[in-house]
Symmetry: C2
Subunit: 538 residues, 2 copies
Amino acid sequence: MPATAATTATVRSAAAQSGAGGRSPRPGVTLGSDFLQLDIADAPPGGRTAWLADRLRSAIADGRLPVGTRLPASRVLAEELRVTRGVVTEAYRRLSESGQIAGRGRGGTVVVAAPARPAPPTAPSASDRPASPSSPAAGQRAFRPRTPRTPDAFFTASPHRDGLVDALRGLPCRIDLSPGVPDLAAFPRTAWLRAERAVLAAATPADFGYGSPQGAPALRRAVVGWLARNRGIRADPDEVVVVAGVAQALGLLAQLLRADGIDRVAVEDPGSLGARQQLEYGGHTTVPVPVDAGGLDVDALRACGARAVLMTPAHQFPTGVVLDGERRRELLRWAAGGGVVIEDDYDAEHRYDRPPVPALRSLLPDGVCYAGSVSKLLAPALRVGWLLVPPHLRDALVTAKRYADLGNGVLTQLVLARLMDSGELERHLRHVRRRHRKRRDVMLRAVEAHLPGARVHGAAAGLHLMVTFADGPGSRVPDTALAAAALDRGVKAHPLSWHRLTPGPPGLVLGYAAGAAHEIEEGIALIGETLATLPTAT
Amino acid sequence: MPATAATTATVRSAAAQSGAGGRSPRPGVTLGSDFLQLDIADAPPGGRTAWLADRLRSAIADGRLPVGTRLPASRVLAEELRVTRGVVTEAYRRLSESGQIAGRGRGGTVVVAAPARPAPPTAPSASDRPASPSSPAAGQRAFRPRTPRTPDAFFTASPHRDGLVDALRGLPCRIDLSPGVPDLAAFPRTAWLRAERAVLAAATPADFGYGSPQGAPALRRAVVGWLARNRGIRADPDEVVVVAGVAQALGLLAQLLRADGIDRVAVEDPGSLGARQQLEYGGHTTVPVPVDAGGLDVDALRACGARAVLMTPAHQFPTGVVLDGERRRELLRWAAGGGVVIEDDYDAEHRYDRPPVPALRSLLPDGVCYAGSVSKLLAPALRVGWLLVPPHLRDALVTAKRYADLGNGVLTQLVLARLMDSGELERHLRHVRRRHRKRRDVMLRAVEAHLPGARVHGAAAGLHLMVTFADGPGSRVPDTALAAAALDRGVKAHPLSWHRLTPGPPGLVLGYAAGAAHEIEEGIALIGETLATLPTAT
């Protein structure tokens, strides 16, 4: 390899070079300092203290060491720079005197003030989630009614705008009735930490390495058990691919379908805006197929000519309809004829009236791509889901997942596998289902009391209600205007029209699972007040 | 919304319906059972015990309840099915008598044997990582020398085969000298768990919800501090996008570049096979540009006409060369003229001789896409990295990340932010650097002792050595044959030719960070023995 000759060496000379050319490293001590990439060789002889103080001063001035940064212990930095400890303590003393750093006892030495040049701004961007405690400018408390950020423009923007749902999530509010989020206050922190401790205790070094892109075998086995017990699906762990939630599942499927020559996917109308956007970003045209009392209209599906359909058969989003027996049979006939069904089983486990219907996948493994996740079972923040595809697509799916991210994070998968195997997740589900049900009842009563003319759909299951306004004041204003005015009063909800591809009566999609009873009560009352004051000019 | 009229109801009737039509639910008790989707309404009157036993029996027989599954407590199942507890205990007793389930004291009632129809096979697939303790058929102990899975065919397969590196990772071995993995045994389990406990204690419910697709603000701030202290980069948290490792960063950049009309990307030759495949999967043609003693040949880059280049300037993979000052200046001129530099800063923090050179990004934020991760700092299993792009690409990047997976898992991000902010990660880096350095020295000595004619490249930094065979027995066999024969003896390493686009002397890429000293010693000795016995027919 002549090209690299100048950097190569025989083994002997490479070994000799392995110290820092000419310097005599002390054994066991790291050479050089990563800290600010300081290199003592740059310091003038006899001027090391001044040099170090100067370097620190510029790093503080130009923002590389922002206020709050803890400096290395003087012993550590001295060792790394190979100077006496006195050089470092003296440099620290000078900066301390000039008020830029300060000793904090066991908290170490900390940057306390930056001179002249201001630190870069740290205001959150629009894509930050303001509800996060670590985001300075936001949080529920920060919401001011009649904020100048007029939500009107936001809601009346094209519903096809990228990341609309996500952007709404980012707006501050006082009461959040967005659909799709479970009771997050119930997250089983203690059980999670206990499982994590067990996972860390049992993990081999290899568990911290690159995992299987298909997912940790332990989690795939646990998912198989979960699907068998809860969704009537019999599967082999090798059929399961662990993904970062249903969103990633749809993105990967969009790729696979396109590789299979499919670029039009039928979607339910009304149906999830987010899911539709996911497919469209993946290069597909989405074709609306109406949903009625029996679920997706399979005749219309057949007529539209799309070779694939994305649907939510166990609990249609947003209507809450369950695909009925006759339609299931028709759909399976369509799939047996070569159609691809993408089954988004997003909240099938949340039923209050009867056991959930078995998944379509349980009836026709070869024609159904099945996607589920822990987002509604446990927490969206975990970003873990699973995808099962027909056998002929499996290898392509694993390849797509590999190139997407080399596989999900392993520790989270192993913790989740423990929670599933131990029955902890089912226990949690039973617990939150009781809480969700009470909150649903609160919302039903509040809608009855405060939203005249509202019709409620899909109350028997899930984490949200859909209401439509067939008459009354709500029927005479666009639902985007209602949602905008409600957000102006601090209450967040989805306008139903966001989730429609063809026009229909106005309405709202109202999540009840995440909020406390009094918030639900107050939120609906505020929407009712809003409704009463809106000019009814459609 | 007339289409759904049959499933709608006025608020009053919806509220009345919210129980299970006609049944009178007991308050506070969940209706219906998720467990096997049992519905007591299916049971014949007076035959509930037999019905339940039968349902359980079939679920065990058809694999929905595999051996080892814990059944719900009889009290819980009885409550859910709304039968007396006696019905459940009697059904359990019958299955227990027939030997299918057994009481395990506080361990509950467990499935112990499946009759007749066998459970589905659970052998790991090729994409499983056999080193995982939870993968039954594998692990280091399971390696048998001269296994019938001949590695020859594997190594001589086209190096452009999808997932080749990944597939090699999946093959069993006794000593793993693959490059790119840090000392995983040193993973700071205690610090991690402590930080996780603090995160769970401090988290608000919103932290368990959908996070910002751009990444948790706390981690973005921590990354900014890290980059300032360790890589000379001054950035604003809003410039940082948290990604699932450098692999995802490359996948997302591949999308952005294509949207910008770029579909040819220059890559270093030799250079990382995995990174090249990532770009190719993303629809790009990769154009080889030679690497010499000064790093990437910028004249050749200019001549090849590609508008973007992927490179590893701080520590070139696999040669270990640092891009020299003159080349850096040339490259920045090229970038200032509109070229896009993708800087894969994969292991810049691991230098043994001097502070790492500052990142290219620190010199030209507007022309450099900068990708880093914790894979080499801490553990690949975490799947966390960061990507900074020029300002005009930032919004498109956030959108691409949103559609990829809605953002990284939040808990892992918050734990990592704590480890970075507290100085724990820097402490860990200092610790492993000492260990890595010793292992490197062991490998250098072993190469000198056992691999005659080997030239060592890139020993001053990183987690691997590159050796080439300019003469001696190693120069007379293809390196794929050597790697295959070595794996046959239980030692895994990368043939250098995998990472070449144009032919060059044979060689190996040998990781030293992950293994213990005696394994490195023995692994290199075994490669030496292999070399001595190979027929030298090239």
